[in-house]
């Protein structure tokens, strides 16, 4: 009997199948999970009343500078996002700065091809193009049409990037002479397939012979204005699409490249985008003015969980908190919450987290821009975490760069601009950022950022 049940344990297989169903329908099983894990925190919650150590948080001196740094970050981010050349922006167009909540749907090059914004379609009425500085990011979808057929005007707006399968083809030029794309090779660019080596590919060119001679990647590709066709008057000329990527065979003897295809690599990583800018025609009056979202705050207390890995905290609040909500202390990120039952929660600090973060790196001095990047904490020791980052081209971020690291947009409840700590490019591996979060004992009170819609 023992052997029979051991060789085919029905109950065990059933719970493994249940786990798969649980992962498929998280909304259905979410409340159950909150109660199960929440009840297990009852013991440490009780113990924290007598033995709870204060969570690690910054000292007064560090917190005092946070507001100043956040103001500097905001100033530089705004300057970068609105830095499109005067000839590119439509005259008298209104520019709206929006936060990016998430990137989804695999598109060309295997990269994400849709963005979810923190503004609704109704608020962005009259907008079409989505840009960042002089880079073309994508196109605002329209509720009730195409891919957004099920969306309502009150829903958060979605943006299709240029590598989206439904994105329009773009008339552009490869800037061979460095003259801003005026005299270069003229091409038509469309979204690539998910298996392509870059998000967009060049479909047609005006001079196939000249195209076949291209053997150098890295040339800038910019849009050109069209007078006729679907995108006529929609996309102005001069917007940056990315860098050309030549795909072909190397000739071992002559160093020539047999060009098979030309792709376009955008200069941004969708996961790393924190803010984008939308243009609204001056004639449209229906939409609201540009503003960043505020969040409602819930007061709470964090304790170190006894024995848990460093950076894992017990969070106690008066009310329930959503998963992924930022736990902050005067503008500094303490961690990210996982809401449980009866006002309990678990908070994980940045250093202990294993998720992908959207980040903003603000280098010291005023010469370098703020870099939008995405990254994952690879390892941590004490109050130092090493983040493997991607996003900005390697040549833009100097090897000796030092500065401050902030959150980018990490979902509805974790907005951009929360200070994480001091950061610098790792001396041995420049794909790593070494992040030092100031950690002392003392402060227990925290704020948890919850539903932004209630605080608009």
């Amino acid at each position: 009997m023992l052997r029979k049940s051991a060789s085919f344990p029905v109950g065990l297989y059933a719970i493994l199948l249940l786990a798969l169903a649980w992962l498929t329908l998280p909304a259905l099983f979410g409340p159950v999970e909150r109660w199960l894990v929440g009840s297990a925190t009852a013991v440490p919650r009780l113990a924290s009343m007598w033995f709870g150590r204060p969570a690690r948080a910054a000292g007064r001196d560090d917190l005092g500078r946070v507001e100043e740094l956040r103001a500097e970050l905001n100033r530089r981010v705004t300057r970068q996002n609105f830095s499109a050349g005067a000839g590119v922006i439509p005259v008298a167009a209104e520019k709206l700065l929006c936060g990016v909540l998430s990137a989804s749907r695999v598109g060309g090059g295997g990269r994400m091809s849709e963005l979810l914004l923190d503004h609704s379609y109704a608020e962005l009425e009259g907008c079409d193009l989505v840009v960042k500085g002089d880079q073309l990011i994508g196109f605002l979808m329209r509720p009730g049409q195409g891919r957004a057929i099920d969306d309502l005007p009150a829903d958060p707006a979605r943006v299709m990037l240029c590598n989206h399968r439904d994105a329009p083809r773009l008339y552009a030029s490869v800037d061979e002479d460095g003259g801003g794309g005026v005299g270069g090779l003229r091409v038509v660019v469309r979204a690539g397939s998910s298996a392509d080596p870059a998000p967009m590919r060049v479909d047609l060119w005006n001079d196939p012979y000249q195209a076949a001679q291209m053997d150098e990647s890295g040339l800038l590709v910019r849009t050109r204005a069209l007078k006729y066709g679907a995108t006529a008057q929609r996309v102005p000329g001069g917007l940056l699409l990315g860098r050309a990527k030549v795909w072909g065979y190397d000739d071992q003897k002559t160093d020539d490249v047999l060009t098979i295809a030309v792709y376009v690599e955008p200069l941004f990583e969708p996961h790393a985008l924190s803010h984008v800018v939308l243009w609204r025609a001056p004639a449209v009056r229906g939409g609201r003015s540009s503003m960043m979202r505020a969040h409602r705050r819930v007061s709470g207390v964090v304790y170190d969980l006894p024995g848990a890995d460093r950076g894992r905290h017990l969070l106690v609040t008066d009310t329930g908190v959503p998963d992924g909500a930022a736990v902050t202390q005067e503008g500094m990120l303490v961690g990210v919450a996982r809401g449980l039952c009866l006002g309990s929660g678990l908070a994980t600090s940045f250093g202990a987290s294993r998720r992908r973060w959207s980040l903003l790196f603000l280098p010291d001095g005023d010469t370098l821009p703020a870099f939008e990047m995405s990254g994952v904490v690879e390892r941590a020791a004490g109050n130092v975490a090493w983040v493997r980052w991607e996003g900005p081209p390697r040549d833009q971020l100097p090897r000796s760069a030092e500065g401050h690291l902030f959150t980018g947009s990490n979902g509805r409840f974790c907005p951009s601009g929360l200070w994480i700590g001091r950061a610098r490019v790792d001396r041995l591996d420049r794909d790593l950022l070494e992040v030092r979060s100031p950690v002392t004992r003392g402060a227990r009170a925290v704020d948890v950022l919850v539903d932004p819609s209630e605080a608009r």
Partner: protein, 166 residues
Amino acid sequence: MRWFWWFGVVPQLFLLAGYLHDLGLPPVDVSVFGALFLAWFAQVRALPMLLLALAIGRSLVDQASLPVHLLVIGVPIAVLLPLRALFVAQHWLWQAMAASVLAVVIPKLSGLCARIFDQPAPVGILDPWQVFWAASLLPPLLLVARLSPPFRAFTEQAEQARRVAA
């Protein structure tokens, strides 16, 4: 009553193990310990609920969601369970070997599930010391646990009888 003790005590073992490690004692991976107990010593009929308590405990110290922990601990148990009949008498050497295999497999499986189900992934670096301590400490710990509540109440009777006879 035994279930009350199981759900009350076992999840807290994850915190206790970390706490003792903070005090300077060698690390004990409670996931490996629990998986080994469930696979080779626990009552087969009780496995689903026993596994659930282990998964809840792991949720306290790891960011992935509860069903991922069910899979990460449950799949190795499902693989090891049929071997229970082969390794009669549960010699400590087999236990040490199984513990070291689980000390490698569970973190790897955790990373795999994280990638597949888009969950926070654990650190991908395997610590050989973890494997060493799992192989060294878990067999004696399992012996002690099988004699102590709440594990004793869920130990397979055939296993208990064999131990008494020995």
